[in-house]
Symmetry: D2
Subunit: 444 residues, 4 copies
Amino acid sequence: MKLPKELLLGLIPEHMLDRGLIVLEETLLKPIKILLEQRKLPKEGWNDDTIRLLLKILSSMDTDKDPKAARIGEREARVASPLISELAAGFVHGVGRSGVLIDPQPKAAGGSLMYQIANRLSEDILKKFGVENIKGAYILPLATGMSISLTLKVARDITGGRDVIYPRIDHKSPLNAISLVGLHPKIIPCKLDGDTVVSDPNEIEAAINGQTAAILTTTTFFPPRQADNVIAIAKIAKEKGIPHIINNAYGVQSPKIMKMIRSAIFKGRVDAIIQSTDKNFLCPIGGSIIASSDENFLRKVAHSYAGRATAGPVVQFLAAVLSLGENRYKELIQQQQNCYSLLKDLLGNLAEKFGERLLEVDHPIAIAMTITKPRIAHEIGAKLYTSRVTGPRGLPKPDSTFGTCYDEYPTQYLTINASIGVEETDIRSTVERLEKLLKKIPLS
Amino acid sequence: MKLPKELLLGLIPEHMLDRGLIVLEETLLKPIKILLEQRKLPKEGWNDDTIRLLLKILSSMDTDKDPKAARIGEREARVASPLISELAAGFVHGVGRSGVLIDPQPKAAGGSLMYQIANRLSEDILKKFGVENIKGAYILPLATGMSISLTLKVARDITGGRDVIYPRIDHKSPLNAISLVGLHPKIIPCKLDGDTVVSDPNEIEAAINGQTAAILTTTTFFPPRQADNVIAIAKIAKEKGIPHIINNAYGVQSPKIMKMIRSAIFKGRVDAIIQSTDKNFLCPIGGSIIASSDENFLRKVAHSYAGRATAGPVVQFLAAVLSLGENRYKELIQQQQNCYSLLKDLLGNLAEKFGERLLEVDHPIAIAMTITKPRIAHEIGAKLYTSRVTGPRGLPKPDSTFGTCYDEYPTQYLTINASIGVEETDIRSTVERLEKLLKKIPLS
Amino acid sequence: MKLPKELLLGLIPEHMLDRGLIVLEETLLKPIKILLEQRKLPKEGWNDDTIRLLLKILSSMDTDKDPKAARIGEREARVASPLISELAAGFVHGVGRSGVLIDPQPKAAGGSLMYQIANRLSEDILKKFGVENIKGAYILPLATGMSISLTLKVARDITGGRDVIYPRIDHKSPLNAISLVGLHPKIIPCKLDGDTVVSDPNEIEAAINGQTAAILTTTTFFPPRQADNVIAIAKIAKEKGIPHIINNAYGVQSPKIMKMIRSAIFKGRVDAIIQSTDKNFLCPIGGSIIASSDENFLRKVAHSYAGRATAGPVVQFLAAVLSLGENRYKELIQQQQNCYSLLKDLLGNLAEKFGERLLEVDHPIAIAMTITKPRIAHEIGAKLYTSRVTGPRGLPKPDSTFGTCYDEYPTQYLTINASIGVEETDIRSTVERLEKLLKKIPLS
Amino acid sequence: MKLPKELLLGLIPEHMLDRGLIVLEETLLKPIKILLEQRKLPKEGWNDDTIRLLLKILSSMDTDKDPKAARIGEREARVASPLISELAAGFVHGVGRSGVLIDPQPKAAGGSLMYQIANRLSEDILKKFGVENIKGAYILPLATGMSISLTLKVARDITGGRDVIYPRIDHKSPLNAISLVGLHPKIIPCKLDGDTVVSDPNEIEAAINGQTAAILTTTTFFPPRQADNVIAIAKIAKEKGIPHIINNAYGVQSPKIMKMIRSAIFKGRVDAIIQSTDKNFLCPIGGSIIASSDENFLRKVAHSYAGRATAGPVVQFLAAVLSLGENRYKELIQQQQNCYSLLKDLLGNLAEKFGERLLEVDHPIAIAMTITKPRIAHEIGAKLYTSRVTGPRGLPKPDSTFGTCYDEYPTQYLTINASIGVEETDIRSTVERLEKLLKKIPLS
């Protein structure tokens, strides 16, 4: 990974050449060399050109780039035009082998290296940001929900059970995930603790029986729903010998949640932790990371994917974390916390001004504010969309309590996230636009 | 979709401007207009620039491009750097909604349009190339095997059965697919008919019972395994009221197979037909098309995906078929047939010269040649890899008959594909390199 | 310049479509429409995607993009590969016609429009930033020096003279420029006014005679050389009927210099003002803008270029000013002034600390500091290069006074620029590295 | 220029890694290594990715890529946005130094290397394709006409003369070139030899006197004008001691013309040969190559450019010839000759059918056909433009004989080129469209 000086001698004065080679080295070649040697998240983020070069080098190792190859399989990663290959960043063979997703693909040395490196970084970034007691991690080019499915399938095969104990979260994807693998959700109702909607570990324990295939807990959902107490539940899972899957969709950004998961692994049983790549790492939607303290479990999950998968979410994750580096990710976490505080202040003032109040929930990312009639929460949510505010949720919806995780939550409310990557302007203009809406509907 | 002439008047002479506008219209804008109006596969393929412009226009409609948006959800498709968005061709929100994969995503008007258009084209291309009696089709950004899983899940829920009747195909992905959704493969052994390994519809019929969740048939596998008789099996499925899923992995390229499926739909029951996007349409690995004559079944499959999915395989498919157009796809089918004939001739000659023979199997894409001891088939396969030939399979492997679809196939053999996109040089150089290997191991 | 809504109806819900079309309009299409209508520098800078779209639309109007064209000239802008066209942003025909650089090229409607638009913007930006009394301007894809040559050629043909009166500036390019067109520099020596090296309008007036072809003045050179008094000289030029060319290489960034030129035009004679595109507008090196209050003179200069020219510097200028917009250019001017003040403070402190002082020169962009023996100015310059500081000049060089514009300037000095685009970190780290060097050579 | 295997060990099986490294080496790294070692035109053309990598490596050596640089000059190649740098392929510093165009630029080690390499290739390609007796060559990012100017400037300074002896060519650019440097064209009228318009070396000799600065000859112009007899003229130039400049605009594609120039150098005096990069090497308009058998003359020309120049035409030339390689350039020459023959046949038949005939002129690239009244040649040219045929010229124009190189050429005519890069379809559709036009205007 060096441009030998002797190749360039005699073209320009040597002191200029030396200077040029230093810049080339430092900005382009050295970061790649260090990455390949260490296979860890770099301290400093890379510039886009360096990332492009890494991807180009790796994708140039695949057989579809070999002009001397004779390609006579039924699947040779041929492309209709150069653009088509470009749309896959050159990794046209996807990732994995027919039987095992994480196994190297003989036609794609480069794609396989890329996947390995991305997986190493996925493990490293989780360790660096809180759960250093995992034993491995890799990226699944699948939605978080689908990845949960794969883990539940493994739990099902281990236990032979048919139910998934599921402290109530009103989100369709995990329910789909349970259903896909032929299991049944055994939903544990939540309780109200002040404003907060919480699950009760005792009830979870009580629900376990011979039919139990797994416990599926959740760390991140909208307030007033709070994270499940994964430490207590992990202990129960350990005692009872039940696989425990944690849906940690966007929890990596929260040092508090990550610390909680670390303790759960330490003190109890955690078979798999699944997190979204896009919700945590500023990359396009489509991938998730599965991590575990049990390498065997991880390997079984990889055996459950049927076929070779698109490389896209893997490449995108890899590029995103190389772009961020450890330092910028730390800054982003700090920025998330600052924006959260700002949101709390601004929204608190707004609430007071308009006869509402913030719900008291211990939630590191989102905040909920009451909405009092004649104001209608879900209408305010819809109007915010028209005002070009994306993301807020006004609950309950007209005909259902789905979304609140509780059958008769005492008030309507609106949730707003200050999640990783959010900027001060997002917070401020949301509150401003919300203010305009509230003004139009005075409380009396 | 027009650049108004009046915007440009007064800058250059009008006759030049007219000429320029004609070129702009014809090469760039008109194809896009026609596509949006008709939502059909274009007759003529597009150039890459036109495809890029379409993708840019569509992706520019998503909320992440809106500088006036206030983005305060937990998932806002933020990206770590411009490269990251570029790696997703700008479609950073993925496709689908939490509950239903094919539903429009409010944060991604453009991405949703893109997905809809791609789906229309997927339906149209299947209709134009042989199965005009389907009622709908869409792209799943999943491996063929995973897509089979989703269909089996729906079949399972409809029937309440637990077995999948599966005429033996020695391929891991479909077995994984069956297992993922908690079903059990009921493998129907094949018979030998001359050289050919075939399944027997009568045995399939005989295997059906109250536990049957679905029949999973296959149209494309390596010779000597022949396609299942999907027409006869579809009739049985209809009579018995059993869901019938066809794994048509790389069958779109074969007019004969497509015609057979068309008849199966016409005469019997076919709940879903799944085909690989990459194996048929020269695009990167990672997607599949599910089609059906039953819109209701299709919709249920879309409800089974848990979460939002990566847009990558969808964009890649869309770009690939726009690049091809109807005419070039026809040419590619013709070229496949020519290469197949060439392969038959060259390989036939080679076999004769070296004391081998071609297996007599009715297969539209691949050919198998006997390998006689002391030659070892799987070693020849491995040596071809080292000779930079990718794709051939030497069977059986040392310790297993898996791959042959038959317990005691009377001879070793090597399979070679002339699949869509293959070029004459691939065929010729494969046979040449194989000749070199065979020379080294004379039969006596 | 609109995507008609009816083309997209029926694919996604109408309220999403409306939202998507708004984003598309506002971010991508509307800025282009407004530019084409108004042909002025936009208030707000554009994002790169919008610029790319404009370039793509325009370049798609050229005949080389026309698949129905029959191209049988000796020069048809054919390219060896797609990359080659990409390297020219699609504008492969260059700009101009054989005889006249600014005339539309029939084979390149799009390239010609692009050049016209760029020229309008070059005129507009000069007017907006200080010289609203010019009558026209256009971009020459030539170095500033070469552009000066073209203007001197016109002056030569008008006057029939053979000398260029040239208040001494020690810069090779203008001297080359004079020599290229067969003229002779009549160098007017500078005077010392305190620390400042200045030219004397009276001496210029005295030098005019029947052989005078033109006066070439300069607004921007390193201190201690100050700008020529172009107002006084323009008055002389007017009185004596001598063409007056102003080399305003990097003066656009200075409101003060621009105001001075405006007065010169108002009160005297200015035939042409030449400015570098890269030194003023953050774009790659290679272009210049020629402006004039005399349209006739401008047209004659365009007749002087021999052949068709590369479009590169034109496209780059266009893209750069669209990217900047009026507002960001104003901010950059402000930032330049802030950095200048910072440099003055930091360098002043440094000088004091190390027994040096700043030269007292009225210069809006650069500052000079004395260098006292045993310190050797040009060695310090060389060492700064090795310390990765680019741009400072240590004068005089060992064997020549060239560079100082004065035969026996009383002290050595080092010049440092705070020119447009410079950032605080450049200033700070320059002063830090300089401090390290000075420490090593104490004055006594 | 190697990716060390040890950096990648342990991620994928070693035999796959080996295979991947071979592909990487052969397709991407080795061609670059060989180019840098040999600095010659490669035998085989490169793919675009390899070219991109070379450009990226080189441009990454420039100081603007150095994040540790402190940039405090007045010209630091800053850019307004990433797109702006991309538009220059990263070579934002241009080429050359203020005084000398071909000298390395300290701020741009990479750009300087790029220019050096491009220059070596320009020399090598001229040598390989016919004029192996040149001593050097380099690229001027200037139109051919402007480059002629620079050479005439040097000739002017050497001789002190004021006239350029110029065998009549009716082309504006060279006349502009002569005028720019303050010289006067002494136009030598042509003679008629059958259909052919030719210059007479004897008249050229007779025109030489004490005022002669240079002889400017031409190898390529439209028929019926034939190439000047540069061999005879070179001999005269040598005898009389007059600088001789050859305008070889698009002559590189003709082995015959190149051989003639080689003889001219061998037998006489040739100070400079100028060729267009775009007309010969399938790259965008904007550059020229100057070659000479006199290194000293070449160096003086480089001293004549005033300032630093755009790197664009240099990069584009480099990319184009790397894309072509020696082999494809040979093929293109062959294809030009085939197309020329085809054009002769088709146009000959057409002429006969419509009462016209081909002019008998010895011209390797273009053919002229008579146009007889009532047909009007220049109107036919204009109509062909409307029919989307670009390049043909109908002469004379209404009010002038300019273009014919002869005062009273006996017939009207239309010229059509079969120049390098032309394809059979261009020829065929031109003749077809011309036929339609001729049909509408029968001769009687």
